[in-house]
Symmetry: C2
Subunit: 354 residues, 2 copies
């Protein structure tokens, strides 16, 4: 892929690495490539980060033909740049785009684009502990018109943001509100994709949880309002006695890269992992009896987020005395160790950006 | 509301009124107003139609915080400008925005904005038979950032498009594919709103129907995959023996303005109207026995769209010999008669734009 480069005339001042927050700062440049029916993907370019002029009839603003991905670039102790399983993000975006009937950027082009923009903006990859460069690829419809149909033109854009911990307080247990009114996804819908509509629909429950003093929502399935699916924008896992239980990938749950990696590590360590229907009743009962030893969310942004409390229809159960569990911590240390290149990458997940 | 006006330097040539299509042309100007936490809604303006510069991190491009409406302005035989129940669209957008946690434009401001831009662009309202000016209000998040939360700033925009018949062939029966794989909406989700995500999710089924030689999709409910909900982007009604049956408004079905108006007219004419669960099995059986006399979709764009055939799991039933039914035609003539000011507006639905 030939990538044209237009350098920004002035570069921004880099933010304080110890106070990055999450997604507040964007780098000097972005990657962009266009698609239309005649030319396919064309005009790959790195250009100064800045506004994209958009016709008010652009279909993405009306019918939400839009999908995104999230991954990170890390500095290892030698100062090399690492990506973590970027091909998984490429493939997931292809699956998202298929479902939303959007043009699909081939896997190799996706990974090449990520590597190119990360390398070009490498001065922006922070080096302070637990910091990284968050990579946000997004595809959206650019055709202008008000008919509902697959758009005839798309843009794929990558923007970059230097980030610290997703939760400012670091790896600490959060309180989770089990949502029984709003539904995130249903089989036959778009739950397995990272399409914008899933996130728009999720905000109301998140606001409600926060109003009740909770950090995130635990989503139940849309059919029975009974089986545990995800937590906030993360996959979720439960250590019940000595078995790790998580929702199976059956259409309404996002196939998380962190989820897949953690399952792999757990099995490698000899843990029994069950991908199955887990009812909220079974979960709450395990919480009451103490069989529920640990619980955590998994996602690219927060990596591993321990869960300290569940509240379902007014009943609260505390998990592991509201302390980060031993397994949760070990998983966090292991996965972040691999991602930042501090531990041996025995699974060959990291990709060196040269 | 004070509305500033910036006139376009050059005006476009108006398109041929007999070949407008639907949503292909946009007028010279658009209405725009901004919202942020400090100022609320502010800076109402009519400006030349043109691109809006958008930061690539703008939340609408990632998390689809976006809702829209659709209504029309009509020329009556005297040349006056009529709107049809615009307050219904205003209220529905408020309900959509509440669900998606977006700023809500008050009803009076919505209607005032519609009237102002329609009046300003009145030369664009076509006069040929069955033509009108389609009005497309849209609200979307404008905050730039990659956290998932209610955005802190929004834009409300109205664009206008002179349109002809939604279906080029006019009021003729269409073939409908009963969808049993993809799901449009589920209770607890966003089915009752006009949020972009609903439409993005619907495209795959629409494409599948077209590939199978069908014009639109009949959606079944997401829980039982059994009860009839909508057809394409329209509500749907069935004349079974002498009763009109349509899905009830229970969260997964859009509360259509045309739906509401048609129910009102039918009851006024003495028809029995049942808003209830109608299973696809009951519907197909009614089709087989001939109890299903007529079927039609209702929506602002196409007004009334007769249904001539249903195909469910390979079985086809033809309705009324694939002819537009008597009641369907009478409803179309009555409603369009009121909308275009050819018939007496005994329900006080039209609003004169002065």
């Amino acid at each position: 892929m030939e990538i044209k480069i237009e350098r920004a005339k002035t570069l921004k001042q880099k933010p304080d690495q110890n106070n990055l927050g999450f997604g507040k700062y964007f780098t000097d440049h972005m990657f962009m490539i266009d698609w239309d029916q005649d030319q396919g993907w064309h005009d790959a370019r790195i250009v100064p980060y800045g506004p994209i002029p958009m016709d008010p009839a652009t279909m993405v603003l009306h019918y939400a033909q839009e999908t995104f991905e999230g991954l990170k670039a890390y500095r290892n102790p030698n100062g090399d740049i690492l990506l973590f399983r970027p091909e998984m993000n490429a493939r997931r975006m292809i699956n998202s785009n298929k479902r939303i009937c959007m043009a699909e950027l081939p896997e190799e082009m996706f990974v090449e684009a990520v590597e190119a923009i990360v390398k070009y903006e490498q001065d922006w990859i922070p080096t302070a502990p637990n910091t990284s460069l968050y990579i946000r690829p997004v595809t959206f419809a650019t055709e202008a018109g008000v008919g509902v149909h697959p758009a005839k033109s798309y843009k794929f854009v990558i923007i970059l943001s230097p980030v610290g911990n997703y939760y400012p307080e670091g790896v600490n247990p959060v309180k989770i509100w089990v949502e029984d009114e709003f539904v995130r996804a249903v089989k036959g819908g778009t739950g397995f994709t990272k399409c914008g509509g899933n996130y728009a629909a999720s905000i109301a429950a998140q606001v409600k949880a926060e109003q009740n003093g909770y950090t995130q929502v635990l989503w139940l399935d849309g059919v029975h309002r009974k089986y545990v699916e995800e937590v906030g924008t993360m996959n979720v896992m439960f250590l019940i006695n000595d078995t790790v239980v998580t929702a199976a990938l059956e259409g309404s749950v996002l196939p998380g890269v962190t989820r897949d990696s953690i399952i792999h590590i757990l099995k490698d360590w000899g843990y029994k992992v069950e991908e199955r229907d887990l009812s909220i009743d079974e979960l709450m009962e395990a919480g009451r009896t103490g069989a529920l030893k640990e619980a955590w969310g998994t996602g690219t942004a927060a990596v591993i987020s321990p869960i300290g409390e569940l509240c379902y229809k007014g009943e609260k159960v505390t998990i592991n005395g509201f302390e980060t569990g031993e397994l949760t911590q070990k998983l966090y240390d292991t996965l972040t160790g691999i991602q930042w290149g501090r531990l041996e990458d025995k699974y060959h997940w990291t990709k060196l950006v040269k």
